[in-house]
Symmetry: C2
Subunit: 137 residues, 2 copies
């Protein structure tokens, strides 16, 4: 199967497939006589697996580990779970960061008239937070 069809079936763009091959995330597939890459079902499965993992936010390095566990019949499910747990922790941290940002912006925007007047609690807040930063932190 050519790369185009592999891309379609795995939901991984052809460009990205070649990139994954380049960084050694997937093995280089055999080539047709004309030099075209040739993908079989098991490679499609790996690519699809990667597409899923990437959609769930796993980094390329995490995907590398997950994929090797996927290929390993003698894996320990604990290893898989550990990677997932680490990733969930990152997600939670990121969510917490975003929520913190949101809270601050909300509090700044709460007192902003949002009309044609120039005084603005958001601008003031950014300037004030700025002024306070070097000492407070």
């Amino acid at each position: 199967m050519n790369i185009g069809q592999a891309a379609e079936r795995s939901s991984v763009p052809a460009k990205t497939i070649r990139y994954y091959e380049e960084i050694g995330l997937i093995a280089a597939p055999p080539r047709h006589v004309n030099g075209y890459r040739d993908y079989d079902e098991s490679r499609i499965n790996e690519l699809s697996f990667l597409a899923s993992a990437r959609r769930l936010g796993f980094s390329i390095d995490e995907c590398r580990s997950l994929l090797s566990l996927y290929r390993d019949e003698h894996r320990a499910s604990a290893d898989v779970k550990a990677i997932a747990a680490t990733h969930v922790a990152h997600i939670d941290a990121r969510i917490a960061d975003l929520k913190a940002m949101r809270r601050v912006i909300d509090s700044l925007a709460g007192h902003c008239h949002g009309d044609s007047r120039s005084d603005c609690s958001i601008i003031d807040g950014l300037a004030a937070r700025a002024a306070g930063q070097p000492k407070e932190v």
Copy 2:
């Protein structure tokens, strides 16, 4: 004031200050006879303002707009509020994405033994989601 002190006082690394100058986010400061950049209080304030905005997740382009509003005594606070609202919407969308990922990973990990056995609902789930994707989506 030299760039090192400006960096310290504004909490913006010297490297980043030069970058901001290069992309036209801040104006190029005057130079001393020796070629060193010279920052005054108002520039420090702008840099500190940028540090705050960046910490709150505003993109460089949003910072560009915010900064020009900060500098504009005749701004309309509505313009500021609009930028903040757009950014909050992005934050919310990102949070929703992350929560969705988290939910899926949690549901996959919930049935994973997490021991030395090889069967793993996470691996299976990633493979299955993969298989299902082309049709379902």
